[in-house]
């Protein structure tokens, strides 16, 4: 029987490289005109900001990279955006929707 490794909580920081795990599926639900995240026993509806962030969560970009890109695209203060994204990815990681 294979060993089972206990999990631990992943903590978000600006260096974290968030990504959607294989079993979390983000897709556009054309019938309802919105983006959704399909997860075990759950359907999440990310808001517009979360969608923009999630599209950039590729496991390569860091939270800082994502914040920098969005700060440029939306001409917004980097510090503020960075803090918001750290909080958002922590929340989503705690829900099991993102890995860090």
């Amino acid at each position: 029987m294979a060993e089972i490794t206990p999990r631990s909580r992943a903590l978000a920081s600006t260096d974290a490289k968030p990504a959607l795990p294989k079993h979390i599926k983000m897709r556009h639900d054309a019938g309802r005109g919105r983006w959704i995240l399909l997860a075990p026993e759950r359907v999440f509806e990310p808001d517009d900001t979360a969608v923009e962030v999630l599209k950039l969560c590729d496991g390569v970009r860091t939270v800082r990279d994502i914040a920098t890109k969005l700060a440029t695209d939306y001409n917004a203060p980097l510090n503020e955006i960075e803090g918001d994204i750290v909080a958002m990815v922590q929340d989503l990681a705690d829900k099991g929707v993102l890995r860090l």
Partner: protein, 394 residues
């Protein structure tokens, strides 16, 4: 606490308000078979089970899944009975993946092998939900009337982890295992589960027959609330908890199925389409079959779906209640079973005139120091026995 039941379609918002109104259903519960090697006294299948020779064919189910995806259904729950008793499960999972539905296998695990689980994962299975009866082996065997189940479940957890499949453990909670809840939580964490459903038994169908043997006391239930709250904190970011409380001790009823005909459909092994899995306990409903009509036609026009959809069927106290679109009147089946009229307010609601009797039943039964023995769910004892229904009636 009014958490959704494990099988209800859950819409949670990642960072904005919940989706409040759905035109199309979100979830399909596909009861592939009523066959099951376990005999749990709280079995959620209806009193009258569909026999093996009436089960839908592989092609029937594949058509149903295709229609479901077309209707906008996102989540497919492959359930039973024991769904792995169907030897075409891999084909059905593959179809779900093809049509883009998120597939969830709801299993007791005891019939699985490592090769079969790998084949299911290869076919595109998204998630596995494994039920456990207890972490005390002797007690688990007593509850399920099945030998060696717990060891098998440990294997299934290990295989699931090794395949990289997400794992939910579902633990039905009742008087015979409620004191082991802390150990059950630790077990789930040690098995690598990302989610744990602490699901107090809901007393319909077969479980209603065993209510006196299963009902915990209010004090026991309140203690589980504390235990789960503490565990949520302890396992934050490691394991997500779903908590379903027994509504006998609730102030407000659960919004059963998130509202009748509002987000979820259930197809029985023989193809009947139900608004909830025990809707057959309500007289006067006509259940269409996927062999005769399309799923979308049934969803929109089916008599059983229209009957209690929305709020127009309600009478007071529901009709004028400001919570009518929060609770949706609670559970129609429970209203039927306990008051004899499905349009009555669910007696779990403190505003129901039958609420006091309802609470008293639970209190008396749960404090009986000599509870009755389990009536096991054996194949061959599925003949309806309605002696336990409508027992609050004069």
């Amino acid at each position: 606490m009014n958490e959704i039941t494990p099988i209800a379609p859950a819409v949670q918002s990642a960072s904005s308000a919940d989706v409040s109104c759905m035109r199309a259903p979100m979830g399909l519960l596909a009861e592939l078979t009523h066959r099951c090697p376990l005999q749990c006294p709280y079995c959620s299948n209806p009193l009258e089970m569909d026999r093996a020779n009436t089960e839908l064919s592989t092609a029937d189910w594949q058509r149903v899944f295709t229609e479901a995806a077309g209707l906008g259904i996102l989540q497919l729950h492959l359930s039973g009975g024991e769904p792995t008793a169907r030897n075409d499960l891999e084909q059905l999972v593959a179809t779900a993946a093809e049509v883009g539905m998120y597939s969830n296998l709801i299993t007791a695990g005891v019939l699985l092998t490592q090769d079969r689980l790998k084949a299911l994962a290869d076919a595109g299975l998204d998630h596995l939900q494994l039920s456990i009866q207890d972490v005390d082996e002797a007690n688990a065997e007593k509850i399920s009337a099945y030998k060696g189940g717990l060891a098998k479940k440990r294997d299934v957890c290990a295989w699931t982890n090794a395949l990289g499949l997400p794992l939910t453990i579902n633990a039905p909670i009742h008087r015979a295992n409620i004191e082991n809840l802390p150990a059950i939580i630790e077990f789930a964490a040690s098995m690598g589960a990302g989610r744990l459903e602490v699901a107090h038994v809901q007393y319909y169908a077969w479980a209603l027959k065993n209510r006196a043997a299963l009902m915990p006391t209010k004090e026991q239930v309140m203690k589980t609330v504390e235990i789960v709250e503490a565990a949520r904190e302890k396992y934050k970011g490691i394991m997500v908890f779903d908590f379903v409380v027994p509504d006998y001790y609730a102030k407000f009823p659960k919004p059963c199925m998130s509202g009748w005909g509002r987000g979820s459909m259930n197809v029985t092994p023989s193809g009947k389409v139900l608004p909830c899995h025990i809707a057959e306990s309500i007289p006067g409903l006509e259940f269409d079959n996927v062999r005769d009509r399309s799923l979308s036609d049934i969803w929109i026009n089916g008599q059983a779906f229209q009957k209690y959809r929305g709020t127009s069927w309600m009478k007071d106290p529901c009709k004028s209640c400001e919570r009518r679109e929060i609770d949706w009147g609670g559970c129609r089946c429970q209203a039927m079973l306990m008051t004899g009229d499905p349009t009555n307010t669910d007696p779990a609601c403190s505003l129901s005139p039958r609420h006091a009797e309802f609470v008293a039943l639970a209190s008396v039964e749960s404090h009986d120091s000599h509870p009755p023995a389990f009536v096991y769910r054996r194949i061959g004892t599925q003949t309806a026995d309605h002696s336990t229904t409508g027992e609050l009636d004069e």
